[in-house]
């Protein structure tokens, strides 16, 4: 793995070694997991529901303690990394109570708490950081809105702005593309690419298999154990995905004979985990993944025309 060095005191990294996490009821959610990620990386975390993705996130956030093994973030134990404000978290939409009486600006300011004193009174630097972060995600005009009044994509961007305002070097994103239209998805991806260029490390839990080759340079495939981890070109393969999803994925295969009348035996494989499908055709899969092309044309992609955003004027009253 290439680790571009930046002149920061804290080089972003996540190192997980032999990590086992058990719940109180004895269920092992993550088993002997090891992987490591360095600066300037966008890594996709892929696996079925219940494969331990959220357990891994909770462990990285210090909510769960490892039964065995260790986690270090930027070379520090989890608790110290959190204390230093190095880890930012962008929650799933369902985790947030959108009827809470807080404004967009209040949410972004919450990212600055670690930089403030005991009383959490915002100083000039905090206000500037919040403003810059909001401007960067294009939400500055919405800063006085109550969060429930925003559309799905806008809500996501506000929480991204909070991660930016915090200045987190390691950013955990939990399903950032769920309930977001294609335009917002592209904006989020562009922003993540910029953050990668700044040397930050992002770990993205996603079901959106089709877009992974577009912007993730690393992939960790998990099903309690780490099934595969490494660069997208060599890791995000049909074999590994079948290993991870074995039956849980929607998996279509069109044999060559069904597609055309000649002797060409290449086939089309469509793999989808609810969201944008991954389309593989013949022997060119590898090249396509390596080249980072769009995985699916518009015709093959039911994701392209989905738009689950609520009406922009949906106020607090409706979200309750």
């Amino acid at each position: 793995m290439t680790v571009p060095q930046h002149g920061r005191a804290m080089t972003p990294s996540i190192v997980v070694e032999g990590l086992t996490v058990r719940y109180n009821n004895g269920v092992t959610a993550v088993d002997e997991a090891s992987f490591s990620l360095g600066a300037g990386t966008i890594c996709a975390l892929v696996g079925i529901n219940g494969s331990g993705k959220s357990t891994l996130f909770k462990t990285l956030m210090g909510f769960l303690k490892p039964a065995k093994g260790s986690v270090s973030i930027c070379g520090l134990p989890v608790r110290a990394a959190l204390k230093a404000g190095l880890v930012a978290y962008v929650p799933q939409a369902e985790e947030v109570d959108w009827s809470f009486p807080v404004l967009v600006n209040d949410v972004v300011m919450m990212g600055r708490y670690g930089h403030m004193g005991l009383l959490r009174i915002a100083g000039k630097a905090d206000r500037e950081a919040a403003e810059q972060a909001l401007a960067r995600v294009g939400m500055l005009d919405f800063r006085r809105r109550q969060i429930g009044e925003l559309s799905g994509g806008q809500r996501k961007r506000v929480f991204l702005a909070r991660a930016l305002a915090q200045g987190g070097q390691v950013i955990l994103l939990d399903e950032p593309f769920t309930g977001v239209d294609v335009k917002t998805e592209d904006q989020i991806v562009d922003l993540m690419r910029e953050l990668r260029a700044e040397g930050r490390l992002m770990l993205v839990s996603t079901h959106n298999l089709g877009s992974i080759p577009e912007f993730c340079d690393q992939v960790v495939i998990i099903n309690k154990r780490i099934l595969a981890a490494g660069p997208t070109e060599t890791t995000f393969t049909q074999e590994n995905l079948q290993l991870a999803f074995s039956g849980a994925l929607r998996h279509f295969r069109l044999e060559g004979a069904a597609l055309h009348d000649d002797a060409d035996d290449r086939r089309v494989t469509v793999i989808t985990d609810d969201e944008r499908p991954l389309v593989l055709y013949g022997q060119r899969d590898r090249e396509r993944l390596a080249a980072g092309e769009r995985g699916a044309g518009p015709a093959a992609s039911p994701g392209a025309d989905r738009d689950r955003e609520p009406a922009p004027d949906a106020g607090r009253g409706e979200t309750r």
Binding site: L82, G85, Y89, P101, L103, Y113, G114
Partner: protein, 286 residues
């Protein structure tokens, strides 16, 4: 007329009652902002009932009632946690069983030792007859709670809104929640004197709920709720002089009236505003 209106201020017990009620009403209203947002309102009710046996025993044993109340509140919380872990029962059933049991034990203690303390003053409160010792206790409890809330209200908001982010900025959500419940228990004990065990729940829910209809900002929510809590409690205590009624009942009725007003007339989240908005949608550009 003015002489008549000023009459209550001539009695020291009335002044004491008004000031103590306002203080307790304000702190309880502060807590209500958090409680109602989290859907934990019934927890306040359970706590208020669960401290009754502690108060009864404290009077019986001649120890400060706050200590007894706090101890039995803690015991109830432990009992709830234990029943919850050891059985498959749902939370509301567990809360229901534990707090009614505690309340019943409390009533039993009081009825067996009728001389120690009047049942009515625990269940309905007796702010007009509050002793100087109790005034001191209540003032200390409410003062310390208020100071802690003023210092940590932003951190509590973050923990209630987004625990993960609280962790990401280095806060311990567990510790903050413990702080909150200790404050809630302490203020419930204080409010017991003013409105009694049955109506404490209103003090820690209604002001916050009313303010929620009036603003989208948490800072303002606190200010509005505390103002409502202080005003209704002071006015309630004052008016009970003339109406010769239970102070607790008056305070809570006042709070409910204000809630109803907000419910109908709130500029953004009230019923009338909702109707106006619906009409604006159904007849666009008329």
């Amino acid at each position: 007329m003015i002489a008549l209106l000023l009459e209550p201020f001539g009695y020291q017990y009335m002044v004491k009652a008004i000031v103590v009620s306002a203080l307790v009403g304000g702190v309880c209203a502060f807590l209500s902002c958090y409680l109602m947002l989290k859907g934990w309102s019934l927890m306040g009710d359970a706590l208020a009932h669960a401290i009754v046996p502690g108060v009864a025993l404290a009077y019986l044993l001649k120890v400060p009632y706050a200590a007894g109340a706090f101890f039995s509140g803690l015991l109830a919380a432990l009992a709830m946690a234990l029943v919850r872990i050891r059985t498959q029962l749902r939370e509301d059933a567990v809360i229901g069983i534990v707090f009614t049991s505690f309340f019943a034990i409390g009533l039993l203690i009081v009825s067996i030792n009728p001389t120690s303390v009047n049942v009515q003053s625990i269940v309905l409160g007796n702010i007009l007859g509050i002793s100087d010792e109790d005034v001191l206790q209540v003032t200390i409890i409410a003062g310390v709670s208020l100071a802690l809330l003023l210092l940590r209200w932003r951190d509590l908001l973050l923990v209630f809104f987004d625990e993960n982010q609280a962790r990401a900025v280095g806060l311990s959500p567990t510790r903050m929640k413990i702080l909150f419940f200790v404050l809630l228990a302490a203020c419930t004990v204080a409010a017991l004197q003013t409105v009694g065990a049955c109506l404490v729940i209103a003090m820690v829910v209604t002001p916050g709920a009313t303010a929620y209809l009036l603003t989208d900002r948490f800072g303002r929510l606190i200010i509005i709720a505390v103002a409502l809590g202080v005003a209704t409690s002071a006015v309630g205590a004052y008016a009970s002089y003339f109406l010769d009624g239970a102070t607790g009942g008056l305070i809570v009725v006042l709070q409910t009236l204000l809630f109803l007003l907000a419910y109908v007339f709130a500029p953004k989240h009230g019923r009338l505003a909702a109707r106006r908005a619906a009409r604006a949608v159904s007849e666009p550009a008329s």
